[in-house]
């Protein structure tokens, strides 16, 4: 019931920000910002309620992981929408967020079970770190898409239509860099915690291999982007392209591993 309300709020906010993108109307953006805050608050309330209901952090199934990713990415956007230059980024994020929430809504409440005693402390630390990194990756992906659109428009010289609302390339590049760096740190911490957690469990290597592969793949994409930025000076378009490719790799990896190994998210649960 609550997730339906959250979905409706996200959908209304989405319409608001798309309306602002086309009209640049001040009243519309004020309404959209208020709706965004309400949406994120309602989403947070829903996640807390779910957590209370299932007695642990709701990230133990793929729909719950997606739910948490969207929530954390929305929190990052809560900061971005208050700046005039970056407000319109929400118009690109919200359709993705609304669609993802709509897709997972029917199964997000399903409880896969309780955790064994030894996993109770590792599990929230590991998953939250990894999902925070992935949430930053979502923001980086949205920023990259907007960067590539805006750059194309600038090269054509058609900057006075809808493109006039888009953030300047330098601003987008800064957001992209911040998200990749923050995401890289979060995902590195998450992987280290995951390794420690796995060593504390009596697991067969084959059981956790898909998760390790998925984690390493995502980590490599982050590491490559950050390295190219620092060492070679990749900026703008190249970083945006690699982020888009990396995000698609991460999504394909996430979906295929969860389809091929449905229990990959059930590590540490009471059998």
């Amino acid at each position: 019931m609550l997730i339906s309300g959250v979905l409706i709020l996200y959908f209304m906010t989405c319409i608001g920000f798309i309306g602002y993108l086309f009209t640049r109307n001040r009243q519309i953006v004020i309404a959209a910002r208020i709706l965004f805050i309400l949406s994120v608050t309602a989403h947070l309330v829903f996640t807390i309620a779910l957590s209370v209901k299932i007695h642990h952090l709701p990230v133990s199934s793929p729909p719950q992981a997606v739910n948490m990713m969207v929530l954390l990415a929305s929190v990052v956007f809560t900061f971005l929408i208050w700046k005039k230059l970056t407000t319109v980024l929400a118009a690109f994020f919200l359709p993705v967020a609304t669609f993802s929430l709509g897709f997972i809504a029917p199964s997000v409440g399903h409880n896969p079970g309780l955790f064994v005693e030894s996993s109770k402390y590792w599990y929230p630390l590991h998953t939250l770190s990894v999902i925070t990194g992935e949430a930053f990756f979502i923001v980086a992906f949205i920023t990259s898409v907007v960067y590539l659109i805006h750059e194309r428009v600038i090269k054509r010289g058609a900057i006075h239509n809808i493109a006039s609302s888009l953030p300047p390339l330098a601003v987008l590049d800064r957001i992209l860099y911040t998200c990749l760096s923050s995401g890289f740190i979060a995902i590195t911490i998450g992987m280290m915690l995951g390794a420690l957690w796995a060593s504390s469990l009596d697991l067969e290597y084959a059981h956790i291999a898909p998760k390790i592969l998925s984690g390493i793949l995502t980590w490599f994409v982050f590491a490559f982007s950050v390295h190219q930025r620092f060492a070679i000076g990749w900026r703008g378009r190249r970083t945006a392209v690699i982020t888009v490719i990396g995000f698609l790799v991460m999504i394909i990896g996430f979906i295929s591993i969860n389809l091929a190994y449905p229990h990959a998210h059930g590590i540490g649960l009471i059998p």
Binding site: I154, G157, P168, L169, R235, G236
Partner: protein
């Protein structure tokens, strides 16, 4: 009596040789204004216009001829004499830039306001022209905010500054490198400076010319040999030299981009023949615009401004309609009737509020009507005896008889 007239000598019909001889200052008009007359004069590089009320147009033509030394017949041939709503419509169009050489340009509004201040100081404007000019300012403001007419830059310098803002955002932290000391580069540099560019570096083969432009722009002159070093540290490049072959090649930029660690660079090449090889635009994080690409953007903007003209004209018609309604109300009998209608509405309001029976209501109505009519008897008698525009306007403003006047106060 209430008709505004206009004599307009503008770029559409009069040659620049003729226009430059005509300049009518408010003091000149003051000499021919009689009692209860008013005037407003506007002189810009593209037009000389006189708006007046209560003045014989022949006297105005005579004045122009006398001051400019041009025969009256020649002036009549190239000028437009507009009367009534045509004159007011023309004023609205002029103030909004719709009658300008570059449609939608905004400088004209500032010029109209400046000359209005001069006319006010000279005491030659009156109730009618004051109102018409204020309406003109309002129409111009509405057109600027409600249409996209001013959204599309139509000068190469403005377009370049806009593109720079789309790449760097705030250009106040950007360094601008100007190669060549020509006029075009100077204009583009000034536009970027007005947007807050941090630092200007000027390079020219003739160092003394670079120093001259640097003084004008408050920039730093550098020798031509330091071109590569400066390219590595600047953000925006404006090149406008007379060199017969490109001075910035793809190889140069590729080497520079390595030094810059691929930090974005925006190059505007306004030289003919070009100073920058076209392949430079393909370099990573390099944005190159030559004169042709900028001109094609500006041409597209011209046509977009023209598309917005019909929207702007519709705004002018609504403002003109509102102004004409105000003029119609500028009559002693209409004002007195409006005043009595206002009193009747007050009486009705009071009766509606109080819980009275029919007899008491009738008594109250009679008492209120007698008192209020006695109260306004003196202003009404005065208005009947002195039905001048000023007195009518003061009465209307004092009692807030015009809807838009009340609206303005509510805001």
């Amino acid at each position: 009596m209430n008709l505004i007239g206009c004599i307009s000598i503008n770029h559409k019909r009069a040659s620049v040789e003729l226009r430059e001889k005509i300049c009518i200052e408010p003091e000149h008009m003051a000499e021919i204004l009689g009692k209860d007359c008013e005037a407003y004069t506007l002189n810009t590089c593209n037009r000389a216009e006189i708006y007046f009320r209560g003045v014989n147009p022949n006297a105005v033509y005579g004045l122009i001829s006398g001051l400019s030394g041009i025969p009256e017949e020649s002036i009549r041939e190239v000028s437009d004499h507009l009367v009534g709503s045509e004159a007011v419509r023309h004023l609205f169009k002029v103030a909004s830039g719709l009658d300008s050489l570059v449609i939608g340009e905004s400088q004209i509004l500032g010029q109209v306001k400046d000359t209005y201040r001069a006319c006010l100081a000279a005491g030659i404007t009156g109730t009618l022209l004051n109102k018409a000019l204020h309406r003109a300012f309002r129409a111009a403001k509405r057109i600027r905010t409600e249409t996209d007419i001013g959204k599309y830059p139509v000068s190469i310098a403005s377009e370049a500054a806009d593109l720079a803002c789309h790449i760097f955002g705030d250009i106040s932290a950007s360094t601008v490198l100007i190669i060549g000391a020509g006029d075009m580069a100077g204009i583009a540099a000034k536009r970027l400076m007005s947007r807050g560019a941090k630092k200007m570096v000027i390079i020219n083969r003739t160092h003394s010319a670079a120093c001259d432009l640097a003084r004008e722009l408050n920039g730093v002159p550098m020798p031509f040999e330091s071109l590569k070093t400066e390219l590595a540290s600047c953000d925006i490049v404006i090149s406008s030299t007379g060199a017969p072959t490109p001075i910035i090649t793809r190889d140069t930029i590729e080497a520079v981009m390595k030094q810059r660690k691929n930090k974005a660079i925006f190059i505007i090449d306004i030289a003919v023949p070009r100073d920058v090889e076209s392949g430079v635009g393909k370099c990573y994080n390099c944005y190159l615009y030559d004169i042709d690409s900028l001109k094609s953007i500006v041409d597209r903007h011209f046509s977009k401004r023209k598309e917005q003209t019909s929207k702007a004209l519709a705004i002018i018609e609504t403002e003109l309609d509102s102004f004409e309604k105000w003029i119609e109300a500028l009559n002693a009998n209409t004002t007195i009737n409006d005043l009595f209608s206002l009193l009747e509405s007050y009486i009705q309001e009071q009766i509606d509020v109080l819980p009275l029976d029919e007899k008491e209501s009738a008594l109250l109505e009679k008492t209120l009507r007698t008192s209020l009519r006695r109260f306004v008897h003196r202003p009404v008698s005065f208005l009947k005896d002195h039905p001048g525009i000023d007195h009518i306007e003061h009465t209307r403003r004092l009692f807030q008889l015009d809807e838009d006047y009340q609206d303005r106060h509510k805001r």
